[in-house]
Amino acid sequence: MENTKKRFRFVKTNNPPFWVKPLIPVLALIGTFIITSGLILWAKANPFDTYFQFLIAPLSNRVSILEILVKSTPLILCGVAVTFAFSASYYNIGAEGQLYAGAIAAAGLGQILFDVPASIAIPIMIIGGFIAGMAWALIPALLKVKLAVDEVVTTLLMNSIMAYIVSALLNGPWRDPVSGWPQSAEISPTAMFFRIVPRSRLNLGFIIAVVSLIILWVVLSRTSFGLRMRAVGLGKPAANFAGIDVSNTILKAALISGGIAGLAGVAEVAGIQFHLIGELSSDYGYTGVIIATLGSLNAFGVGLASLFFGLVDQGAQTVSRTLGVPVYLGEVTQSAMLLVTLGMLLLQRYRIRRM
């Protein structure tokens, strides 16, 4: 039947023309712009003005550039966390919950570290947050390797459970006794992350995020563990045949992933908020999945995607303030960009032919 009429078809190609690769991000940006401009018109704003305020204006002054780095900090950490897990094809969608696990640890430790100097308190915060994130990731990881329970579903459900734990803490034992707000007491000044640049919010958290990117690069490209992870990611039966302990590799990847997501929570509590609050994360854990994918699971890509998404978050606040376009434009832009780019990437691997 198909042979009787001409139609468009995807044909696999291994050698895409040289001009395709650099074209993809450009086309993805244009595609995203077209999709989101409908929303901007709905908000009765001019798409070109909005896009200028959204993506160009934040780059024009020092204050907002530093703020972009602040906003990209949790995104880098969550992107790295997801990349570790996805590299071993362990689909950890639970970075959101693991982030809050780290944040709870940081807020808890920060409240008892008053008599401890910063040189001791800060390492304790970091290690504690890492362990908490790991612990929260342990349950679905064990269920996966021991009982073959699908990790996508369990990590998602664990996010919902964590949201209730945070709410229980903030409405119960940790409710601020002075203000009555649902937020924990302020952490000890010695447990707060120091600022890198004076009169900005840029802090130690950003350095931790950059270090996590370097570790990701080293582990994936320079260690035998990274090689094992990628082998498992490419195909479990083949990896098993090659003598790799698949369960052990997945378990380790899952725990490292959870720990790094936990660090994102520590960085937000110790570097920015100094309290545990319910709205600590605006879906950073889920955005981490987008970032890991757009960054094609490598450190350089993850770093670049995180910085760009940091700009999108900063720009969305600007347009919300100056033009009255709802701040959720940022979230829509990020997810639309993911979907458009994924579509474009396939153009790289397939050519459209009439046949």
């Binding site: 995807f10 696999k12 996508v152 579903v153 369990t154 229980a168 829509v332 997810s335 993911l338």
Partner: protein, 306 residues
């Protein structure tokens, strides 16, 4: 005690309805070989579109219609990504959830952001057959949604999947798309149809919350119910009737915590433990069902004719 139990059972059916609709939609998707993680966002979008359309037109039915249409469109978008373009299903589904969540919140802020009181509409009324009969009257006092979900959609989904040619094709593209293709049936068309139907059901589940049980829309309206529905599909082993029992277990756990809260039990544990309880039950159910789970063989695999 008797009144408590009767109320609990009645509430169980009410609370299970949105999860059941979504789980049936997801079952049809996964039977065709597509894991649709867009479910959470499609439910959220359905809840928003339904509310918005009902509020603007003054008709709950038009609201419901638009909600279902929005779900169908979202299902087709998932088809474009996962079927035509062959993108990783985890990532494309999650991307759709984030996109639709963002779109709904954008629209909600734009249209209702200025009002100080949360906007609400006059929701669907419950049906009250045999209202004068003591126990039966309470049990039967349900929304039309609930009746349709349990008495029409569950048997219909089973009938379509197992007794029709179309259902055979759906199950076959989820198990062995090559064979379906060789038999001269278009794999993509079947998968797109399954995604459209599934998306419509998910959105209807979301719209039940905004148009019937709440009469309002809020940020936390879905709060993970889509993820629970996915767990229920696995627990129910991709069989509509078993999914119904799964949905009732979650609904029962949820109804129990709502009843206990309403009775004002002064327990030494925070009320959030009751809210988290159904999610924990779902994970345990998943573990118990895990060993016997028989995933559709072609799940997560895009089909390409080589």
């Amino acid at each position: 005690m008797e009144i408590f139990l009767v109320n609990l059972i009645a509430a169980t059916f009410r609370v299970s309805t949105p999860i059941l609709l979504a789980a049936l939609g997801e079952t049809i998707n996964e039977k065709a070989g597509i894991l649709n993680l867009g479910i959470e966002g499609i439910m959220f979008f359905g809840a928003f579109v339904g509310f918005f359309a009902a509020d603007k037109t003054g008709s709950l039915w038009i609201g419901l219609l638009f909600a279902i249409l929005s779900g169908v469109l979202a299902g087709l978008l998932m088809g474009l990504l996962s079927v035509t373009l062959g993108v990783n299903q985890h990532v494309s589904g999650l991307g759709i959830t984030l996109l639709l969540t963002g779109l709904s919140l954008f629209g909600f802020r734009l249209e209702y952001g200025g009002s100080s009181t949360p906007p609400s509409i006059e929701p669907f009324q419950q049906l009250t057959p045999l209202a004068n009969v003591p126990i039966l009257g309470t049990l039967l006092q349900q929304y039309a949604f609930t009746y349709v979900a349990f008495l029409v959609i569950v048997p219909l989904a089973w009938w379509i999947l197992y007794k029709t040619r179309f259902g055979l094709h759906i199950r076959a593209v989820g198990e062995n798309p090559e064979a379906v293709d060789a038999a001269g049936v278009n794999v993509a068309t079947i998968r797109y149809s399954a995604l459209a139907i599934g998306g419509g059901l998910m959105a209807a589940g979301g719209a039940f919350l905004s148009l019937a049980s709440l009469g309002a829309f809020s940020h936390g309206i879905i709060s993970g119910r889509g993820w629970v529905a996915i767990a229920i599909v696995i627990f129910g082993n991709w069989v509509p009737l078993k999914c119904m029992f799964g949905a009732l277990i979650f609904g029962g756990a949820n109804a129990l915590q709502l009843r206990l809260q309403a009775l004002g039990f002064n327990l030494p544990i925070p009320y959030e433990s009751f809210l988290a309880f159904p999610y924990i039950v779902t994970i345990i159910a998943l573990v118990l069902a895990g060993r016997n789970a028989s995933y559709p063989a072609a799940l997560l695999k895009p089909y390409r004719r080589e």
